[in-house]
Amino acid sequence: MTTELTIDVRLWDQVSQFLFREARLLDEWRLLEWYDEMLTEDIRYAVPATDVRGEVAGALGLIEDDAARLRQRIEQLLNDEVWCENPRSRTNRMLSNVEILTDRGTHLDVAANLIVHRFGHGRSDAYVGKCRFELVADGNSFRIRQRVVVLDHETLYEHGKLSIIL
């Protein structure tokens, strides 16, 4: 049986490399670089509530950041104003199942699975979720216009909080 290879392997590789770089910058707390170099000016970063499955119109989520609020989040984290991230937690992001869902011409819809291991203040937690990215072309690379992380957890009972950027 032969299957026609419909994906553009080179594009998939570019997208994957881009997202792996994003994960590394976040793990290394290079948040301003991430913000300046990898996001669009109209970035939306959202994490829906765990009791609604995915994005539901009208529902309250956990995070709904536009560029300005995301910038504030980053500055707070970097200024050590965030008591629960001071000392800074150690994180390790595992990004897999990268899949280009649709090439919409203006942008790519990309899905990926994510596990973020976080260690800090004597705790170890894992955040498990599914990411949906909207990537727009930017020269030879991309920028992220939309970044939604749908957590698979039923609750954040174990974690208590979500003080890092997923």
Binding site: L62, N79, E81, T155, L156, G160
Partner: protein, 424 residues
Amino acid sequence: MTIELQRPVDDRIVVEDLEQLSFRVDRRAYTDDAVAAAEMTKIFDRCWLYVGHESEVPELGSYVSRDVGSRPVVMSRGSDGKIRVFANSCTHRGALICSQPSGQAKSFRCPYHDWTFSNQGDLVGVPIPDGYGPSFRKADFGLAQHQSETYRGFVFVTFDPEQQRTLPEYLAGATDYLDLIDDQSEVGMEVIQGAQLHGARANWKLMMENSVDIYHFRALHKRYVSYMESLGSTPPRRRGGFGSALGLGHGANELPPAAARPLAYWTPMFGEEVRPRIEATAARFVERFGAERAERITGTNRAVLIFPNLMIIDAIAITIRKIDPVGAGQMAITSVALAPKDEDPDIRELRKSHYLTFLGPAGFATPDDIEIVESCQRGYLNRTVRYSDLSRGMNKEVPETTDELPAREFWRQWDRLMRDEESR
């Protein structure tokens, strides 16, 4: 002095000295498994406990299932329109009859043997009924229904068969505050979909204290304060504010807003576009309630603690926070947003947006609260320091919001119940 304050007086956990203006809580209250177990029988089995808001079961047959006082329950609006709270346990062999967190159903079927109960609690179906003798009557096996009452949309339950107080009697002075919440809409308030379900590795009482503590605000929440200032939040138009003890363990803080309120208090941080709408709403409140009460409803922030484990915070948004103990060193937190059903869509978005800025496990404030109560719990591991101090404001006739009066009211009731002093 330090040694003197740490010397045990007797075996009391709550040690109050009105002459010395001293109020101490032995940290065993937060760490001792025996205390945690006793709380379940002496407090959670005896008080009225918050279950949910009636807007969560809007239609005939709507239901939610959740734990209340560590007991799985179902709050159901029966086909007759009445809200009931049932034990979520089959009367046959005990399995949960409802595993969905919410939904709409005419009946609940136990998956174990297919016993089926109507949404009014009646046992309506038993497969292979010839296995029971003539004395078996379905009427004897309806779902266990808990005593429940609703006050201004807030549904409470009590597991105490000898409960002497009606819900309004139990709520005492806290009814005023629920009125101030429910009066915010002529057509009723509703819980917005999307709950923030999280927790903390700390004793549940630490979060109750934290939720009614304004003293920590400028210290712990510097980043939130500077964020709000960056949005152009303005200082309150009047100073002051006060804390109150509302009786039977309930307490509140009331203070002028430092930022806008989506209901009807506009400041520049909300933008000019919505200003006319918000000001029109404010005028409508003055018509309905008169200037003074309208100002209290629309132009005042409040946090009310309803004993034992409910917090309602009404500031830049309204949150209902239910805090459940899970043993001595862990709690579960359920937070939802409450808003007028008839809210303007743009203002609803502002409300949700600002709710998230402050509140919830990823807000700019709550994560630090979670971390600090966990930090307290860890600090208690050093048992050399025996007591926590909650005496702020005992030197004043009218304590300010940065004092600890509401927390003392909580602890006094806790102490009466734990020592079996409180009559039922």
